[in-house]
C-alpha cells in the first residue's frame, strides 16, 4: 500500500473527545431540506422562429446544447426505422465536410456531438468546452442545415443497420423488449413497431424517404434549442443565428402531431420466444399505460410505481430478488409519452425458476390493486424518495437540458418544473390505489418470455395464464413442429 500524506487541520481526533459516547442505535435526524434551485430559464426566439431556452451555469467551462426535433419513430409510418436512420446520417457528410472529415473535426475539439431518435423526438446533443463552442456550433449547424445524405453514405448506413438488427436478435433482453412492444401495443402502432426497423423495412428505405423525413420534420418551427452551461443568452443568440439562421420553416405534414391512440388491451396471453441454451429467461409483462400530462394521475402513478417496481426497495424487487433469489433485479416502468406508452414489469430470471417468477410477478401486479393495498407508510416512503430525489436531476448541464426538453415536448406549463415536489406531496394512499385500479388490468396482460423453451414451456403451460403463442425474434408466429 502507498503511504498517505497526512494533513491534520483544526481539531483533535481523539475518539469521543468532548462528546458523550455515541448511541449508534439512534438514526440521525436530517437537517432542514436545502432549497431546490430549479433552473432560471431565459427564453428567446431566432429570426427563423426557432425557440431558444438558455440556462447559465458557470461552474465549469462546459456548454451543453440540445436541439430537440419534435418527431421520432412515431412518425415512421410505413417505414419503421426511418427516424433512426435519418438521425444517424446527419453527421455522415455535409456541403462543407465529408463523413470522415466531419468526424475528425468533432473529435479534434474533444466534443461530443450525437444525434439520436426516440419515439417522439430526435435529439442532437453537443457537449463542448466553452472555448470550442463556436466550432462545435458550426458542426451542429451543418447537421441541421446542410446534411448531404450522399447515396453511398445511405448505403453504408443501411448495411451497418442490417448487421445491427441481426446482432440484436442475439440479445435476449433486446428481443424481449421488441416483441413485447409489438404484442402489447400492436405491430403497426406508433409505439409498437420497432424504432430500429425490421430487416425488410431497412432494406426498403430509399434516400428519398430520408430526404422526405428530414424535410418534413427537421424544421425550426418543429424544434427547440436548449443551451445549458458556461454561457449567457446575450452571448449565445448571435452564435446560434450564425449557425442555424439558414434553417427554414415549413408547414408540418397534416396529422403528424396527432397523439397516438391508446390501444385496447386484450385478455391475458403468453408469447414465447425460443432461446436454446439460455441461462436466464427474459420476462416482460404489461400493457399500454398512461400519457405524460400535468394531470394528478401522472403524479399518483409515479408514487404507485415507486411502491410497485420503481426502485430497489419496491415490492417486485424485494420479492423476486431479495426474498426468492430468482433474479439479479426486477422492476416496473411506465413510458409516459404524448400518448400512453407501455407499462411493463421486467426481469431476467434463472431458467429453472421461470414459472415461479411469473407467479410472483403477476401476484404483485394483481395485489397492488386490492389484496395488498398500498399503505400510508409506503406512500410516505415513496413521496419522500421522489421529492427528495428530484434535485439530483439538476446536477449536470445535460440533466437540466433533458428535464427542460421533456417539458417542451409534452407542452407542460413551466411552473411544473418547480411544482413537481408539491404535486407528489399531494398524493395519498387512496390516490395511488385509484390509479392502480384505473391503469393496471391484471386480466389483460401481454406476457412475453424469451428463454430456453424446452426447459421452461411445460412449467409455463401448467400455470394456465392464457393462450400461448410461440414467436420468432421478429415477433412473427413460428409454425408448430
Amino acid at each position: 500500500m502507498v503511504p498517505i500524506a497526512v494533513t491534520l487541520v483544526g481539531m483533535a481526533f481523539a475518539p469521543g473527545a468532548g462528546a458523550a459516547a455515541l448511541d449508534r442505535g439512534r438514526k440521525p435526524v436530517p437537517g432542514p431540506t436545502p432549497a431546490i434551485a430549479t433552473p432560471r430559464i431565459t427564453r428567446t426566439t431566432l429570426a427563423n422562429g426557432l425557440p431558444v431556452w438558455v440556462v447559465s451555469r458557470h461552474g465549469l467551462p462546459v456548454v451543453s446544447v440540445l436541439v430537440q426535433i419534435r418527431a421520432g419513430s412515431a412518425q415512421d409510418d410505413a417505414h419503421p426505422g426511418l427516424a433512426a436512420m435519418t438521425a444517424a446520417l446527419l453527421d455522415e457528410g455535409s456541403a462543407k465536410h465529408s463523413a470522415l472529415e466531419f468526424a475528425q473535426a468533432t473529435s479534434f475539439l474533444g466534443a461530443s456531438l450525437v444525434a439520436s431518435s426516440g419515439y417522439e423526438q430526435t435529439s442532437i446533443s453537443l457537449l463542448t468546452l466553452t472555448r470550442h463552442l463556436d466550432a462545435g456550433l458550426g458542426l451542429l449547424g451543418e447537421m441541421l442545415v446542410g446534411p448531404s445524405f450522399k447515396p453511398e453514405e445511405v448505403e453504408r448506413e443501411r448495411t451497418s443497420r442490417l448487421q445491427s438488427l441481426k446482432q440484436a436478435r442475439d440479445v435476449a433482453s433486446t428481443t424481449a423488449d421488441r416483441v413485447f412492444n409489438m404484442v402489447a401495443l400492436g405491430a403497426d402502432h406508433p409505439y409498437g413497431r420497432p424504432p430500429a426497423g425490421t430487416l425488410a423495412s431497412i432494406a426498403a428505405i430509399t434516400r428519398d424517404d430520408v430526404l422526405g423525413y428530414f424535410g418534413s420534420f427537421y424544421r425550426p418551427n418543429n424544434a427547440v434549442v436548449i443551451v445549458v452551461g458556461d454561457v449567457t443568452a446575450e452571448a449565445i443568440v448571435p452564435r446560434l443565428e450564425s449557425a442555424l439562421g439558414a434553417w427554414t420553416a415549413a408547414p408540418l405534414p397534416a396529422g403528424s402531431r396527432d397523439v397516438p391512440a391508446k390501444p385496447a388491451a386484450k385478455p391475458t396471453a403468453v408469447y414465447l420466444v425460443d432461446k436454446p441454451g439460455a441461462a436466464q429467461s427474459e420476462i416482460r409483462i404489461g400493457h399500454a399505460g398512461a400519457p405524460r400530462t400535468a394531470d394528478p394521475d401522472y403524479y399518483a402513478l409515479q408514487v404507485l410505481n415507486t411502491v410497485l417496481g420503481g426502485q430497489f426497495t419496491s415490492r417486485v424487487n424485494l420479492n423476486l430478488r431479495e426474498k426468492h433469489g430468482f433474479t439479479y433485479g426486477a422492476r416496473s416502468t411506465w413510458a409516459f409519452r404524448r400518448g400512453a406508452g407501455p407499462f411493463v414489469a421486467s426481469s431476467g430470471v434463472f431458467t429453472a425458476k421461470t414459472d415461479s417468477a411469473l407467479v410472483e410477478f403477476i401476484k404483485e401486479i394483481r395485489d397492488v390493486r386490492g389484496a395488498r393495498p398500498i399503505t400510508a407508510d409506503e406512500v410516505e416512503f415513496a413521496r419522500n424518495a421522489l421529492q427528495r430525489g428530484y434535485p439530483r436531476r439538476f446536477e449536470t448541464d445535460d440533466g437540466i437540458a433533458d428535464v427542460l426538453a421533456d417539458f417542451t415536448l409534452y407542452e407542460l406549463p413551466e411552473s411544473e418544473i418547480s411544482n413537481f415536489p408539491a404535486q407528489i406531496g399531494r398524493v395519498r394512499a387512496e390516490d395511488a390505489t385509484r390509479v392502480a385500479k384505473a391503469y393496471i388490468a391484471p386480466d389483460r396482460l401481454a406476457i412475453v418470455v424469451v428463454g430456453d423453451l424446452a426447459k421452461i414451456r411445460p412449467g409455463i403451460e401448467a400455470l394456465e395464464l392464457g393462450p400461448i403463442s410461440v414467436l420468432d425474434a421478429e415477433g412473427k408466429p413460428v409454425a408448430a413442429k
Binding site: I4, V6, L8, V9, M11, F13, A14, P15, A19, L22, R24, K27, P30, G31, T33, P34, G59, L60, L100, A103, Q104, S107, F108, L109, G110, L127, T128, L129, H132, T159, S160, Q163, K166, R169, D170, V171, A172, P276, A278, A279, Q280, T313, G325, F326, T327, G348, V349, F350, N384, A385, Q387, R388, G389, Y390, P391, R392, E395, T396, D397, D398
Partner: protein
C-alpha cells in the same frame, strides 16, 4: 457567517491558464487521516444541494484464496443486507427514502460503495457506512448469505452467461495470467466457488479487510468541511484500526509464444480480441498506451474504423483501450467482423495498422486530437459529484494523494510521437493473446493460426 480557515478553497474553480495554454483542473480538497488509519478527503462544491459519499476498501478479487473466487464481490452484496444498528433490509431503504441513489462495485483491486443524497442527509449516510464498517457481523445470517449467493449467480447468468460475447472477459483473464496470478480468475467468480462460500468465510474476510486502516472515504459536495470532519470523527473515530494488510504483488507475465483460443457462442457476428501485457496503472508509459489506443481504434477518426468499418466495410465495430490496474496492465483491441467474415483478415489488419503506426508514428493532427480529447474528458468528468469522488478515491488508493487530476492530464499532454512509436515497438511486438468468438459451428472463421506475413503467398 461561515468562517473559511486558511488553506480552504471554497468553490471548485477551473480556469484557463491564458493564451494557448490548456485548462487546469482545480479540485480543492482537504485530506486527513484518523488515528485508526481511515484516510478522509473532503471536497467542497455547492453547485447543487447534494453530497456524494464514496468509500473504498482496498481489497478486490485479487485477494481471494483458492476455491473462493467471486467472494469479494459476494461479500460486497452482504454489505447491503443491514448491520447491527441499522437493521435488516434498512440500508437501501434509508438511502432511498432520503431521495438518494447508492450502489457498490468490485474489481480485482478494490471494492467501492457510494451514495448520492441531499446534503442534509450527510450524517445519515455516515451513520450507515460506519455501522457496516464496524458492526456488520452481528447482523449476518445464513439465510442472507444463501439469498445473495442466488442473486450473484443470477448476476453471473445475466451479465456473462446469457450475454453475447459475455464469456470473453473471463476467458481473457484466464489466458493472460497464470493460475496463481491475482488477475487469473474472474471477479464474478466460478459457480462452484460461490456455492462453497460460508458464513465463516464472510466473518474472516470482514475481519481481515474491512476496517478503517484499509479504507478511504471521500465526501464531495454541498458540505461545510468543519462539520463534515466533525461527523466523520463522530461515526468512524472509535472503530478499531484492524490488522496490518499483507503486501499485494505479482510478478510480470511474459509469454514465449502467442496464445490462441476460440469460443463458440450464440452470436451472428464473429469477434476478435487481441491483448498484450503492458504496464500497471500510473507506470510511466500508461498514458502513452491510452493515446495509442485512441489513435488505433477509438471513434470514427481512428485508423481501424476508417479502414475496416468505413472503407473496406468488413467490420461492424472496432475498439481499443489500455486497461491498467494496480498490479498489471493490458492493451486490448476488439473488432467485430461483419457476418461470415474471417477473423484471420481482421487480425492481419490489426497487426498491419499497429506496425504502420509504429513505423511512421502518429500525425500531429492525431496526437493533438488525442490530447484535446483527454483534456475535454478531464473537464467533463468533473460534472458529477460521484464521478469526482470516485476518481479521488482512486488517486488516494493507487497514488497516495487525492488530487491527481492535473498530473493525469499532464501525463497525456507530454506524450510525443516518438513515445507512441517506442511503446508500440516495445510491447505490441511481443507474444500476446488472440481470442476469437465465432458463431456456434463456424470455427472456420476463427483466427486460430498466425496470419501469413505481408507479401507472402496466400
Amino acid at each position: 457567517m461561515r468562517s473559511k480557515p486558511l488553506g480552504y478553497v471554497l468553490a471548485m474553480m477551473l480556469f484557463m491558464a491564458g493564451g494557448l495554454e490548456a485548462q487546469t483542473l482545480n479540485v480543492p480538497v482537504e485530506a486527513f487521516t484518523l488515528p485508526n488509519g481511515l484516510r478522509v478527503t473532503i471536497h467542497e462544491d455547492h453547485g447543487a444541494p447534494l453530497v456524494a459519499v464514496n468509500l473504498w476498501y482496498h481489497v478486490g478479487s485479487g485477494r481471494e484464496v483458492a476455491g473462493r473466487s467471486g467472494f469479494a464481490h459476494l461479500f460486497e452484496h452482504m454489505l447491503f443486507q443491514g448491520s447491527a444498528h441499522v437493521g435488516v433490509e434498512k440500508h437501501f431503504a434509508t438511502v432511498q427514502e432520503a431521495g438518494g441513489t447508492l450502489n457498490g462495485s468490485t474489481n480485482n483491486d478494490r471494492t467501492n460503495y457510494y451514495d448520492l443524497v441531499p446534503s442534509n442527509f450527510l450524517e445519515t449516510v455516515l451513520w450507515l457506512e460506519s455501522d457496516r464498517m464496524g458492526f456488520l457481523l452481528q447482523a449476518l445470517t445464513q439465510a442472507k448469505l444463501d439469498n445473495q449467493r442466488d442473486v450473484v449467480k443470477n448476476e453471473r447468468r445475466q451479465n456473462y452467461e446469457n450475454r453475447p460475447y459475455g464469456m470473453v472477459p473471463i476467458r481473457l483473464g484466464e489466458l493472460l495470467y497464470p493460475e496463481d496470478h491475482p488477475y487469473h480468475w474472474p471477479t464474478i467468480g466460478y459457480p462452484a466457488d460461490l456455492s462453497a462460500a460460508s458464513v465463516d468465510d464472510v466473518k474472516q474476510f470482514f475481519t481481515q479487510w474491512y476496517h478503517p486502516s484499509n479504507a478511504s472515504l471521500v465526501i464531495a459536495g454541498d458540505v461545510n468541511p468543519d462539520e463534515a470532519k466533525r461527523l466523520v470523527t463522530k461515526y468512524f473515530g472509535d472503530l478499531p484500526a484492524g490488522p496490518v494488510v499483507p503486501p499485494y504483488a505479482a510478478k510480470p507475465v511474459t509469454f514465449a509464444d502467442d496464445v490462441r483460443d476460440v469460443i463458440e457462442d450464440r452470436v451472428t457476428l464473429p469477434q476478435i480480441s487481441v491483448a498484450w501485457h503492458t504496464m500497471p496503472l500510473w507506470a510511466p508509459d500508461d498514458a502513452v498506451c491510452d493515446v495509442a489506443a485512441e489513435i488505433i481504434a477509438q471513434g470514427k477518426s481512428s485508423r481501424l474504423y476508417q479502414r475496416l468499418v468505413y472503407r473496406e466495410q468488413t467490420a461492424q465495430t472496432v475498439a481499443a483501450f489500455q486497461s491498467s490496474r494496480e498490479l498489471a496492465g493490458v492493451f486490448q483491441i476488439n473488432v467485430q467482423a461483419r457476418e461470415g467474415t474471417s477473423l484471420v483478415k481482421m487480425e492481419a489488419a490489426i497487426m498491419e495498422e499497429l506496425s504502420r503506426l509504429a513505423r511512421e508514428g502518429p500525425s500531429d493532427e492525431e496526437l493533438t486530437r488525442a490530447k484535446n480529447g483527454a483534456e475535454a474528458r478531464g473537464v467533463y468528468q468533473l460534472q458529477t459529484l460521484l464521478g469526482k469522488a470516485d476518481r479521488m478515491n482512486s488517486y488516494v488508493t493507487f497514488r497516495g494523494k487525492p488530487d491527481c487530476f492535473n498530473e493525469e492530464l499532464e501525463n497525456v499532454r507530454k506524450v510525443t510521437a516518438a513515445d507512441v512509436q517506442r511503446v508500440l515497438r516495445a510491447y505490441m511486438t511481443r507474444p500476446h493473446v488472440i481470442l476469437s468468438v465465432v458463431p456456434t459451428g463456424h470455427k472456420e472463421l476463427a483466427a486460430s493460426a498466425a496470419p501469413a506475413p505481408p507479401g507472402s503467398a496466400p
